[in-house]
């Protein structure tokens, strides 16, 4: 980005544009997921027993397992950022690697979960709950995919050593995004897995 090198020459304030851009981006994302969850909650409140019957068939243990995976990946992401801050390149690379692996693990578990649910006959057409389940986790899953791709590209740069000295701040931006996706899941997990 042009940000790190040229901006300092003429910038009037000390806020880094990249960081602020990410925050505005997350603000718009909050409204997308916030709106989505509001729609979901309104439907949940307006419907009765049939919903509980449908929602009873998701697997809370698998969901819990995935929650732990994602929370751990957030921790390793912070560790990667911390290592960047402390100029520990090897450590930063390792933590980025773990974050990417955990992201892929989340997607793998999710894929297993989808296939076992579809095998049992629960598709997006099996009622409003299931339609929401696939729409919400699907949109969240796409965000995870995007995050994994972004993190993996940083990992490749870190392994080649090209991440430094100009682009290491991107780990912070990737981290902000990754934590956001994680927080979305923290809302999704109780609303979807514990809503019966």
């Amino acid at each position: 980005m042009s940000g790190a090198t040229t901006v300092s020459e003429y910038q009037a304030t000390h806020t880094v544009p990249g960081r602020m851009g990410i925050w505005w981006f997350l603000a718009s994302e909050i409204m997308v997921f916030g709106g989505f969850l509001a729609i979901y909650i309104l439907y949940r409140m307006a419907s009765g027993g049939a919903w509980a019957e449908m929602a009873n068939h998701v697997s809370a243990p698998i969901g819990t397992f995935n929650t732990i995976i994602l929370l751990t990946s957030s921790l390793t992401m912070v560790k990667a950022f911390e290592a960047i801050d402390n100029e520990k390149r090897k450590q930063a690379t390792n933590f980025l690697l773990i974050t990417v692996i955990l992201g892929l693990a989340f997607l793998g578990v999710k894929a297993f979960e989808y296939s076992s649910e579809i095998a049992l006959g629960f598709t997006p057409l099996s009622g409003t709950f299931w339609a929401f389940y696939y729409a919400l986790t699907g949109l969240h899953g796409l965000h995870i995919v995007a995050g994994v791709i972004f993190n993996a590209s940083l990992l490749v740069m870190a392994m080649k050593g090209t991440l430094w000295p100009n682009t290491q701040h991107r780990v912070e931006y990737a981290g902000l995004y990754w934590h956001f996706v994680d927080i979305v899941w923290i809302f999704l997990f109780p609303l979807l897995y514990l809503s019966y």
Partner: protein
């Protein structure tokens, strides 16, 4: 790669044609690209309006100039009901999302914002380039939707479910899917643009350019960006659900499958009402720049204007259900939403009064931009005042979905997008293209446009009060509307004059671009930073970043010999 580096470092070394004019990261080029997309889409929207107006005046007769449309879209120039519905839908969608936003936010926001705050470019130049090309793609998708099997979207520009949720109702299949996709791309484009506007304004202002020294145009652009960013999210979620209903077969908005069609209306208008202010504020921003320049007076109540628009922006999130008084929602919601709607007219009245107070006692110069600016204020007042009728539930129940509503929102959006947009274009044309637009042609264009516009939409209020429903294909089907058919014919004549009048503009625009009088650096003796650089403005705008000493509207200062004080000059200027 080296070219890209040069562009980013702001060296004005020769770039290839493609990097300079097509895939450019220069905010000025990006702004012009937005401008041309908007003008092209405006022609499309205008032609659609003409087809609709002809059908309403002389139903089911061959429309002159529509003979080329192949069957089964039209039959030898005769427009069938399905195509008429597609026309109303696409006219609205195109004019709001592909003309209003690119014209006012895209073109003028991009072109002016870095110049006005004294920055070398946007904070994220490549994101800026992506935003305009995403809009280009969105426009192509929208245009393509006319050519797919079943025709373009025809569920209204509001896309109400279940009409839009199941192809069985309209017969439109891919047309409506592409409509959703095109809108999604458009939203993405303006989210990218908004992130850029906000980040640039907050982080890259020139030394001395405090937030309260920003030109109001910049304030309006960033306020609009925030409003858009915070309102569009739920509709994006809703659009995903609508697309799933249409393609996968879920039933989020289909009652038979356990869905709730009213929810779409809530989501649409939670976005839709803030959206009209997203379009409105930058148009007003242009007016706020133009009125002081040609009154030779500081704008009245600078900070009050800023805070009024921010309050109006916040209130705009609490008014959406005034579009839904007769939709079958809980009637207890009618009163609170009536109250918030009438409340929101207060900050806008403050802004309008500030405009009038700016003019009061000024030495007014009736240049073309000033005429358009005054025309904007004058016509917008009619639109704003009739909004209070629509916002009161008891009145709205009577006039809902009639041509009164159509006249009302054209009286708000037309002055803002077209009169305000033209004011801005005539005003900043010298900075964009280095030449002046022709004043005589500009004035003729103004009078034709304003008079014809009023001749179209004032009678439409009458039509609406007489009970004429909007989106009706053939008004002659109804006996009680037959006596008013003369009004319909008059409106269509006026609409044709309005559209033909734009040829004056098109000629003036292209002729002036190449043959117009060469513009001086600061032809209007204006104070803001964009007038401190000469055409052609280099890629990095300012050779040295200016230091700002004054507010944006220091005109006719007591004790000064000249009647303007540029923002970047510590002392009085010696000459223009």
């Amino acid at each position: 790669m080296t070219e890209q580096k040069n562009a980013e470092n702001g060296h004005s070394e020769e770039l290839s044609f493609w990097r300079k004019y097509v895939f450019s990261t220069d905010h000025k080029v990006v702004g012009k690209q937005y401008l041309f997309i908007a003008l092209f889409m405006a022609i499309l929207g205008g032609v659609m309006a003409y087809y609709m107006r002809w059908q309403l005046a002389w139903p089911e007769t061959a429309v002159p100039g529509a003979g080329w449309i192949p069957e089964p879209t039209a039959f030898g120039g005769i427009i069938p009901p399905e195509f008429y519905n597609a026309l109303t839908t696409m006219h609205g969608t195109i004019m709001v999302f592909f003309v209003g936003m690119p014209f006012l936010l895209g073109a003028f926001g991009n072109f002016l914002l870095p110049l006005m705050i004294g920055a070398k470019d946007m904070a994220f130049p490549r994101l800026n380039m992506m935003s305009v090309w995403t809009l280009f793609l969105a426009s192509l998708v929208m245009i393509a939707s006319f050519f797919v099997e079943g025709g373009a979207a025809s569920a209204g520009w509001t896309g109400y479910a279940p009409l839009s949720a199941d192809p069985i109702h309209t017969g439109v299949t891919w047309g409506l899917n592409l409509w959703i996709l095109g809108l999604a791309l458009e939203f993405t484009s303006f989210l990218m643009g908004g992130i850029n506007f906000l980040t640039t304004t907050i982080t890259m202002r020139a030394p001395g350019m405090t937030m309260y020294r920003l030109p109001l145009m910049v304030w309006m652009q960033i306020t609009a960006a925030v409003i858009f960013m915070l309102s569009v999210g739920p509709l994006i979620a809703g659009a995903i659900l609508l697309l799933l209903d249409r393609t996968v077969g879920t039933g989020f908005f289909i009652p038979e499958l356990g869905g709730d069609p009213l929810l779409w209306q809530h989501l649409f208008w939670f976005f839709g009402h803030p959206e009209v202010y997203v379009v409105l504020l930058p148009g007003f921003g242009a007016i706020m720049e133009i009125l002081p320049v040609f009154s030779r007076k500081p704008i009245f109540a600078y900070k009050t204007i800023i805070w009024s628009t921010i309050i109006a922006g916040a209130l705009s999130f609490l008014v959406w259900a005034h579009h839904m008084f007769v939709s079958g929602m809980d009637p207890r919601l009618a009163m609170p939403f009536s109250i918030t709607t009438i409340l929101i007219s207060v900050p806008f009245a403050v802004v309008i009064f500030a405009f009038m107070a700016t003019l009061w006692g000024g030495s007014i110069r009736f240049t073309t931009p000033m005429l358009f600016a005054l025309g904007t204020v004058m016509t917008f007042i009619v639109g704003g005042a009739t909004g209070i009728f629509n916002g009161s539930a008891p009145v709205d129940i009577f006039i809902h979905d009639t041509h009164f509503v159509v006249a009302h929102f054209h009286f708000t959006l037309f002055p803002d997008v077209f009169l305000g947009g033209f004011a801005a274009l005539y005003f900043w044309f010298p900075k964009m293209f280095g030449r002046m637009m022709n004043e005589t042609l500009g004035k003729i264009h103004f009078w034709v446009t304003t008079i014809a516009f009023n001749a179209v939409f004032i009678p439409m209020f009458v039509l609406g009060l007489g009970g004429s429903m909007r989106r009706v294909y053939n008004p002659l089907q109804y006996d009680f509307l037959k006596p008013m058919q003369g009004i319909n014919e008059f409106i269509t004549y006026a609409a044709i004059v309005l559209l033909l009048g734009q040829f004056i503009f098109m000629f003036n625009f292209f002729w002036s671009m190449f043959k117009g009088k060469k513009a001086e650096r600061n032809p209007w003796n204006a104070t803001t930073l964009e007038w401190s650089v000469s055409y052609p403005i280099p890629h990095d705008n300012f050779a040295t970043i200016p230091t700002v000493y004054h507010g944006p509207y220091e005109y006719s200062l007591p004790g000064n010999k000249s009647d303007w004080q540029p923002q970047h000059e510590e002392n009085e200027p010696v000459s223009g």
